[in-house]
Structure formats: C-alpha cells, structure tokens
Symmetry: C2
C-alpha cells in the first residue's frame, strides 16, 4: 500500500467512515496541550492516532477509567549503564511505559569506535521502545586517558545517514570547547542545526556563555539549584537527572515553573539494572517528582512533549490526530503504575510483562574486547615516593569527587591501603590493545574492608579499574575480568568471590534482566562481605572519568579536573 | 575568515578576553526562558549574542533603563496584503521591532505561479527583517475559480532548495484534504517532516481529526473560543490573528493559559498599509494583548520563542549566548514603543526610522499582469432571471460572510443595485489571459451609495473584482484597473475619482509607505464620497475567497462554501 493509500485509509477512519484498527474507550485521556482530562474514545489506525471522539474499531479495549497518556521519552541515557543490550533493555522498559529514548553510545564507542555505534544501531532496530542515538562527541573524553578508539568530526558526520541518529551527544570536553580546541570545534560545527547536548558541571559565567555560544543546548549535570537557574536563564534545556548514583531531582525540581517548564526534562542518564528492576525508569522518576509536589500533568510533559520537542521528534509526545500511537495506560497519576503500553498502536506490554519478541542481538564484533596481556603482582606494586599522597574522595550520591591530600599509607616502602582511614588502593590498566600500561592511586569512601573489586566498566575509556586492599586480591579480580572478556568481579586473596560477565564490549551482559539480577545479587552478597558501600561498582566505574570534578584516575595517571591536567600522586 | 576562526573569535569574546563588536548595557534584559528581568550587559559579536554578564565592547550603548527583548517574529502573514514589496515592507516593520516573518506568498503565486514565489524570495534577500516563506499549497485555492497558475506537489518541492523556504503554507482547501483529494494529499505528503500550516475555519469533530491526521499543524482562522479550544486540544498551534479586517484577539486571548501558552502565537495575517502606519505590526498586537490582561512576558513569548519553535527557526526568539542578535529596545512593556531594533547585531532602526538601505527590487516579470481585453458596458449586464437572488452579506470585522436570499432588485429586466436595501452589484472578471469571462452577484454591507470600486486584489485568484451601483461606474473603475496594470480604483459615472496603482502582479505597489498612504488617503477620500464603509476595499478583496464561509463570488460564479459547490445566483 503506498503512502497515498495509507493516508486515504487513515482519513476514512478519522472521518468515522471505516473502523479503526483499535479503539481505546472508557479511559481518562490526558491532554498535555491544554491540561484537560477528556473522556473520549481514542481511535488508533496504522500506527497513529486517527482521531479522538466517538469511534468504531475492529478491536475495542475498555480502559475502565484508567488514565491514558503518551508514551514516556527519556531524553538522556546510556544504554550501557543498564548493563543490558538494547533488546534486553527494551523488554524491561516497555512495561514501564517508556516508548522512546535518546541514548549517547559513547561507552561502546570508547571501546569499539564507529563499529560500536553501528552495532548499537543495528541491535536496537524494531524494538518496542524506539531507540534514538546521538553521535558520541568525546571519544576519548579527554587527552588524559587511553580509549579503544578516537572519533573525529569527519567520523561522526558519517553516522548522520542513519535515520535514528539525531545529533551530537553530550560535549563532555567542556574545558576543550570553552578554550576553543580545534577538534572539538570541528565537531560542534559539523552538527550545526542538529541537536547538540551539553555536559558542563558547575560551569558558570563567561565560560558558560562561551560553551553555549559554541553550540551545546542542554545540560544534565546540574547538581545545584543556582547552577541550574543560570543554565536555564542562558537558554539551556535543563535535563533533571535521577539516576542510580546521581540524584538531582530534589534539588532541581523547584526550578520547574510555568515559565521554565517547557525547557525542562526528566532523564535517567545512568540507571543500574537493579534500580530499573526495583524502582523503575521514568515511571519511577514521575512518581518521585509528583510526590515532591510537581503537578502530574507538568511532570508528564517533562517526559513526553518536552523531550520530543528538544530532539525534534515529530508528532511524538502527545495524544493527537496524526501523532504516533505510543500510549501508556496508567492506574493513577500518583504512583504511575503502568497497566499497559502501546507502541505505534500495538500492545507491547501489559501487567508488567513485555509482549514483544525483542529478537535483535548484538554483532559478534562486540565480543572479545579485553585486549591486554596477563597481569602479575608487579602490575599493582607502587613505590611510596612521597610523604603525602592525593586521594580521590567519593561523595555519597554524587559523581563529583573530592581532591584530598593525606599522609601516604605504606607498607615496606610500597603504597598500601589503610583500612583505618578508609583508604583503598586503586589501579587503572589500559585494556584496548595499547600495551596495558597502568596508573595508581587511592580512593576514600568506597568502604572496602578487604579483598578487591575489578571492573571493565570504567567511564569513559573503559579501561580495567581495580580497587583493593591488597595486591593479591587486586590481581585475582583484575585477571578474572580479563579472562571473562569483561565484567565485574569481587575477589579475596586468590579466590574469586563472585562475578558478572559483561561480554558485549566489556560493558553489557547478553542476558535478560532476571538472570543478570541473580548474578548481580550474588556479586552484591560477595561484595557485602568485603565492602560496606551498598553499590561499590557504581562509584568505581566513575572514578576514571576526568570530566567530572575534582580528582580522577585514568590509565595515564591522576587528573586534577579543575586544572584539566595530570597531577602527581605523591607530594613531598 | 572560516567557520572555525569565527567561532574561535566568538569564544574569545564570550570568555571576556576580547572586546565584543557591541555591548548593550544599562538595559532591563527580559529573559523569556525563566520570566526574569536581568540587569546585565549583553555582548554582541559577529551577529550573535556572545554573552550576558559584564563585557567590554568596541561600541557601547547605554540603554538607560530601557527594556531589551528579542526581535518579534510574525508566524503568519501575507506580504501582498500590505500592498508593499518586501523591501518597502521591511522598511516599515524594522522600526516596529519585527525581526522575522513567515509569509505565505500565495497571492503572487496565484498570479505568477512559481515565478512569483521566486520573485518574492529574490526581492526579500538581505533585508533588515528576515523573510521566511512557506510554499503556497492552494494555487488555485479551489477548483471553483480561475487563477493565473496551478501548482502541484512536484512544483512545490522544487522550492525546497531555497534556505528561506520552510514548509507548506496554509492548506486552505480543507474540504479537499479532509475528503482525501489526491492532489492535496500529494502536497502534504511531499512536505512530511516540514512545517505544514493549516487554515480550517469552524472545522470540528471527525473532520478536524481527519484534517490533522493528514498533516496541518496550525490554524489562524479561529474566530470562536470553543473552536480554538478544540483545535488547541487536538494539537494545533493556535495562531491568534489580529489583522486589519479580522480581529480575533479579544475572543481567543482567554485560551492562552500556562498549559497552552507554548502552543500559541500572535500573528497579523493580513494588515493593510494604513493599519501598519497608524497602529503598527506585532508591537500593536502586543499592546492590545497586554491591555487585555495577558502578562507582558507571555505576550512576548507569543511573538518570539513560540513562532521560532513552531517553524524550527534555530537560535531565534530569545536572548542567549549563541542566539541571533535580533534585539528590540522598548520604552516599556505596556505600550511597546520601539526605541531601536538590531538585526544580527546591527542597528537597523531607531526612533521610528529604518536605517538599512533595503535596496532590493522586484523582477520585471512581476509587471503587466492584467491580461484581459478592454471591457464594455455588456461586461456588466445581467438579465434578472428569477424572483429571488442570493446575496453575499458582509459581517463587520470578519472575513466570514452570510448567505442571504432577497427579492431580486431589477431595472427593466436587468439585475440592479438597490441602495435602499444596501445591495450593490458585484462582478468578477478573469484577468490571467484565460479569456476574461465574468460572473455576477450582489453584496450587502459594503455601504456603496453610488459609483463603483474596482480592484485587482481579490483573494486568492486575484481576478478583477468590481462592486458598483451602476454599470457605467463599474465599467470606468474596472477599465482603469486594467489599464493601470493592476490597482484599486474608485469611479463615479465616467470619471475616475481616485486610484492606487499596484503594478507588481496587480497586488503590490512599488512605492514606499508614505506616498502609498497619500494615494490611499486620496482613494479613501474618494470612496468616502460614494461609500459609507470605512475600508471598503478590504471586504471587496475577500468576497471572492471560496475557502471562507459562507457565500462567495469567483469568476466562475457564486460558491456555497459550506457545500463547497457552485450555486445559482437566482432562485425562483
């Protein structure tokens, strides 16, 4: 059937002269344009809403007073953070009312380059959640680390041939952009006229003006109300993030006013699989926002109309004739319990279960990406070369770290952990086939009491990061991650306590959520034995990210993020 | 200087390391994102806002407490209705704070086809007001009239190569679109993904659903609050029109709520030159809206952020780093008196005067478009063929007409005017070289006491329309319009009382506003002698438009717009 015929048929249905594929009746239909609630039939035909009013349908569903709202759209997240592949993730998100998401695939791009982005696009085709992507702007994130690939402007524009590639993903190298780094400028110029996302924690004043004047239009890194107020004022889309580690909702919600509302989004950014399983996705964030006093229809606009508009997703995000029939049936507008989800007019989830096959799988090129030689005890040995030492201080609930200076903990002239002061050893080892060089440091606040934790998820270069209280445990954990081809491992001495394989680029599981959760549960039980932090792998995966203040460790060494420069571990 | 160098320079200015071209200080800077008013410097460099804060500039302007707001954007107007060419219009609008407009060139397209649209694009290049256009969707508007051209979908898509051609202009053939006319469907399908404007007076229910499901996204024809409420609810952008003839502001303003505000625009559609001169453009509509209680910042958003967003005009409509430095300095937010206007950072108007040369002119192809043979008294003679007759009843302040039936006024067996019942004769003569056939009718409410008025402006086909109380006067007026090559003429008997030449397609003057107003003043003085209507040429120019209910007259005869079909003049 050609376009004309399809449109003719849609018109016949809209005019009421032919039955719709589906008519949803008896619902409380939420109108986000005007803030009204209507009790009308919604006629769905050929994937779109054909009309609202009184309609006949080949299939009729009585919503029995439930609320009908547009499908939720997450304007910013990283698929890789969920540890799930796109198909497995869609299976989780569809029952939670998510209809579309805009992902930045920079994790996999740091491991596999353009091939990783193309793999993500291929693996997300035809799912019950529409996966849109932005081209990763910062691979590697900075010049202060070694990634598996380097993507320049010319590489990125090649991605624009894909219909689900929208724009340029978060420009995390904000110091580079503000300073006029030619490579970063080339990227924002290449994406002029397309959406360009920002990432500019605590940026303010003239530097913020410069950043905005160069292109980025949004920010999801605000942690403070004054910071967010300035960014909104200067024209940024405010993406209010409520992730697993980063909880910004409470601080930023007061900024959502009738004037500013249209420029605000609720996003998840990084949600861990058990957060998705036990709390939810945007349904959870909606619940939290409304519990904090945001009017329900405003909250809904922040995950429907606004993200659609921010990314130019035409005819998505509301319930209107000619718009995509991405619909969610809700029990109420308080708990946001999702009864069923329709994508393009098809029932894709009901009663918490995904009804769509989600049959895509990841290309084999994404496997076997731990490209480094076997490790030895020497890999972790560091001479104590100064009386004082820099320490990465974790801040509970935030990605920002403190830049601490402590007396050097040592044992027989070697740098050592110090449980009494909460100091664990930290090592980052290059794993992309670049020779496997390593850098060392200390971290405070991880809660390790003994043993070690290792991970191939280490933003954004995803080298092999290991935190531990002794070198043998660190070796055991890191070696196991290597031989697994990527994953998360807890070890004590020579014994692996638990492990979660992440065979896809060392970032994602190839399992569905329930077995993944079982593995994670085992891993948590093991790490609980050796660590008091409830989620130690989350901060561990962010201690390498040198675009979030203040002190970080990459495979090249410690980075003072405020100075955007390497610093020595030891001080005199 | 290449793009990189320009951006580097902008960054230096934004960072405060190099002086801006221009710094505006001492102003009350209106922030439309958050609804705040800030007292900050605005640094402008290379056409864009580089930063807000404290800045040094090569040129400094002290705004002395005046208000600084983004330039106004008219989301829907017809250049031709102003009777001015684009350059002459820009010279009028820039001092009134208008920075951009989105025009539908369907008037000139009905006379000259694609060549007319191309002429409009060429004549509007490099002006102090940015002229954007949509491709005219309805040339001719209907099959019930003869225009100078016929534009199909294939013709229209050819225009998309022009950077100032945005989308598809008002789909006035709403009955055709709702009914699935293949030619109309081809047009909306060809512009899928681009802005598509609507025009659907009084459309409602399933027919409205069908219209929207097919593509149009906006409406500027609402005259009633309930009509506008339904359209907003169904996802249309509500363009609240306050033109010379059509005054919809008072009725529709109550629909602008915090929820709906973002979907509303204030537009002028059709403003006559003396309305522009004596009342203004968007500055006037802002004044009226605020006087009726709309908060000033909301009103401003309706002519800045909202039209920019509706048409995807990137980085226009607000005052932020990296956004176009289209700025207006206002005396206050009540009278909206414009002190000065900046376009891309250049002062283009001050103290009511345009400072830009506006040097473009219209191509010669737009002249000599009255393609019909000399007329004779026979051209206007109609036998009275029935005892009753249909009469077009004008409605004060609206474009909608009444469909009246009266006893036939006659003289010696010929149809005649009847001053006692306010009935004037009406004749429409084809003028595009198609043979010059004519159709006849009667109009009530034009206020003619004697003589005749003739016009080559007769929406949308722009045939030659003549209203008169006797045949000799009608002949004199119509013949003078013909020999002028287009224009407006008042005549009494054999004498031309006054005339306004409109040599550009018979639609526009080639003069500046002041001499045009002098001609219009003379024309008005003359028409005041023979007519009690204060602006008789405005309703006269709309009595031919068969897409606005209820009864209209084209060169093919009377049209019952509700039935969308021709009807006989006489009834038994």
């Amino acid at each position: 059937m050609d376009e004309q015929q399809r449109l003719q048929e849609r018109l016949r249905v809209a005019r009421g002269e032919a039955p719709a594929d589906l008519v949803l009746r008896g619902g409380r239909v939420v109108n986000l344009f005007t803030g009204e609630v209507e009790e009308v039939d919604v006629a769905v035909h050929d994937g779109v809403v054909a009309g609202l009013g009184t309609y006949q349908g080949q299939e009729r569903v009585d919503l029995k007073g439930a609320w009908l709202v547009p499908g939720f759209i997450d304007g910013h997240l990283h698929v890789e953070s969920t540890l799930l592949g796109p198909a497995q993730l869609a299976r989780v998100l569809a029952p939670k009312g998510t209809s579309a998401l805009v992902a930045d695939p920079h994790e996999i791009a740091n491991v596999l380059g353009l091939a990783g982005v193309r793999a993500m696009l291929a693996a997300s085709e035809g799912l019950p959640v529409s996966f849109f992507f932005n081209a990763p702007s910062c691979v590697p994130a900075t010049h202060l680390e070694t990634a598996g690939a380097r993507l320049e402007a010319d590489d990125l524009v090649g991605l624009l041939d894909h219909p689900r590639l929208l724009g340029l993903a978060e420009v995390m190298n904000f110091p580079g952009l503000v300073a006029g780094d030619p490579g970063v400028l080339a990227k924002v110029l290449a994406f002029a006229g397309r959406p360009i996302d920002g990432h500019a924690p605590l940026l303010s004043g003239p530097a913020l003006n410069a950043y905005l004047a160069a292109g980025p239009e949004s920010d999801h890194e605000c942690t403070r109300a004054d910071e967010a107020a300035e960014k909104l004022k200067r024209g940024m889309w405010l993406m209010i993030r409520e992730g697993t580690s980063a909880h910004n909702l409470a601080d930023l919600l007061p900024l959502v006013t009738p004037a500013s509302e249209r420029r605000c989004l609720l996003v998840s950014d990084d949600r861990h699989p058990d957060t998705l399983a036990h709390h939810g996705h945007l349904d959870d964030i909606l619940r939290l926002a409304v519990a904090r006093g945001l009017p329900p229809l405003t909250a809904l606009r922040l995950v429907t109309l606004n993200p659609a508009r921010r990314f130019g997703l035409a005819r998505r995000g509301a319930l209107a004739p000619g718009w995509a029939a991405d619909l969610v049936v809700l029990d109420d507008l308080k708990d946001f319990r999702v009864l069923s989800t329709y994508q393009a007019g098809r029932l894709v989830a009901a009663e918490g279960q995904c009804l769509h096959p989600c049959a895509t799988s990841f290309p084999a090129t994404a496997r076997g990406t731990m490209r480094l030689d076997p490790l030895s005890p020497d890999s972790f040995r560091v001479a104590a070369a100064g009386g004082r030492v820099r320490v990465i201080g974790l801040v509970p609930g935030q990605l920002i770290t403190e830049h601490l200076i402590e007396d050097t903990p040592q044992a027989e002239g070697w740098l050592a952990a110090d449980r009494s002061r909460g100091l664990a050893r930290l090592t980052v080892i290059e794993r992309h086939g670049g020779g496997g060089h390593a850098a060392h440091g200390l971290v405070n606040g991880l809660g390790l009491k003994g043993g070690a934790l290792a991970s191939s998820v280490a933003h954004d270069s995803h080298n092999l990061v290991v935190a531990g209280m002794d070198e043998q445990s660190m070796l055991t954990a890191a070696e196991r991650v290597r031989t697994l081809g990527g994953g998360l491992v807890a070890a004590l001495g020579q014994r692996v306590l638990a492990e979660l394989p992440l065979p896809l680029a060392g970032l994602m599981s190839d399992q569905d959520l329930p077995p993944l959760l079982a593995d994670l549960e085992e891993l948590r039980a093991a790490s609980d034995v050796i660590c008091s932090h409830p989620e130690p792998f989350m901060p561990l995966s962010f201690v390498c990210l040198p675009v979030i203040p203040h002190l970080k460790l990459t495979d090249r060494g410690l980075v003072d993020v405020d100075a955007f420069a390497p610093v020595e571990l030891f001080l005199p």
